[in-house]
């Protein structure tokens, strides 16, 4: 049975409230995990663990949050920006994300801003349905 986006969002918000100690009205769809909700690297794993439990699925961390491996690859990052190859890689790995804004200035420091609550919901939606 297909799970609706609203249902997924509700459960994701629950997970984020527990994992990050934020209020549920802070975990809005467009909130960024690091910037707005204060997530640190270990929190990403915590979120993955909790989502796996909540939705009873396996989530390879690379699939949901692939930014770390991109950043450590010299072919994909040059002068602090993602190369064309890096952007292609990002698109392939994260089909659930809209990077049209980011593409204009692919500064890796702004990569973190791509990870919003909505991105998790989109990922889960494609995974579950």
């Amino acid at each position: 049975m297909a799970v609706s986006r609203e249902e997924i969002l509700e459960q994701v918000q629950e997970v984020l409230v527990d994992a990050l100690g934020v209020d549920d009205d802070e975990a809005t769809p467009d909130a960024t995990l690091m910037g707005d909700l204060g997530a640190e690297s270990i929190d990403f794993l915590d979120i993955v663990f909790r989502l796996e439990k909540q939705f009873n699925i396996k989530i390879p961390r690379e699939e949901l949050f692939p930014a770390e491996t991109l950043m450590n690859n010299q072919e994909l990052v040059k002068d602090g920006k993602l190369t064309d190859k890096g952007l292609d890689e990002l698109k392939t790995r994260m089909p659930h994300i809209d990077i049209s804004e980011f593409e204009k200035d692919p500064d890796i420091n702004k990569l973190a801003d791509l990870f919003t609550v909505d991105v998790i919901v989109s990922y889960l939606e494609s995974k579950l349905n």
Binding site: D18, A19, I42, L45, D46, F49, E52, K53, E68, N72
Partner: protein
């Protein structure tokens, strides 16, 4: 583990759960100051006891090849004071474990009464995403803690013989 803050394991199921015991005594000097006239075990040291119980459980699950570091206290709630003379029972179980990290949940009880609920996350730091390199030697699991595990194994063997 450079200092041991639990007294012994009484149950140990590899990769899933462990139960340790910690006796609280007035011989612990910090209790004289915490607080004068009303000695009670600091909550942070209850977390330490749980971190050791769960940390050894997580370390053993990967046969102590990983350096297991407490990375996050996801949740801690305390329901009563812990006083000198109390015997704490610390029960930890592994909720999730991957190559990079593990999460555990645990309870501390005293004579069946709930004292604390503590949920933790541990990182296997050699697999950290920052790519930092740590010394080869496993400075987390030194020989000191091994006696703890031997004791519970010995008890098991004795129980099996009788």
């Amino acid at each position: 583990m450079r200092w041991i803050w639990i007294d012994k394991f009484v149950e140990f199921e590899s990769g899933s759960r462990a139960v340790a015991v910690k006796n609280v005594t007035l011989a612990e000097e910090h209790l004289h100051d915490h607080f004068p006239g009303f000695p009670m075990m600091p909550e942070c040291l209850q977390i330490e006891a749980m971190a050791q119980t769960a940390g050894i459980l997580v370390g053993e699950a990967k046969k102590f090849r990983e350096k297991v570091i407490l990375a996050k206290i996801s949740k801690s709630a305390f329901f009563d004071f812990v006083r000198p003379g109390d015997t704490l029972r610390l029960e930890a179980k592994i909720d999730s474990i991957t190559d990079e990290a593990a999460s555990t949940s645990g309870t501390i009880t005293r004579d069946g009464q709930m004292i604390a609920e503590i949920t933790l996350m541990f990182s296997h730091i050699d697999r950290n995403i920052g790519g930092k390199v740590f010394p080869e030697e496993n400075f987390v699991f030194t020989g000191m803690f091994e006696s703890l595990l031997h004791a519970v194994q010995n008890d098991k063997e004795k129980a099996g013989q009788s």
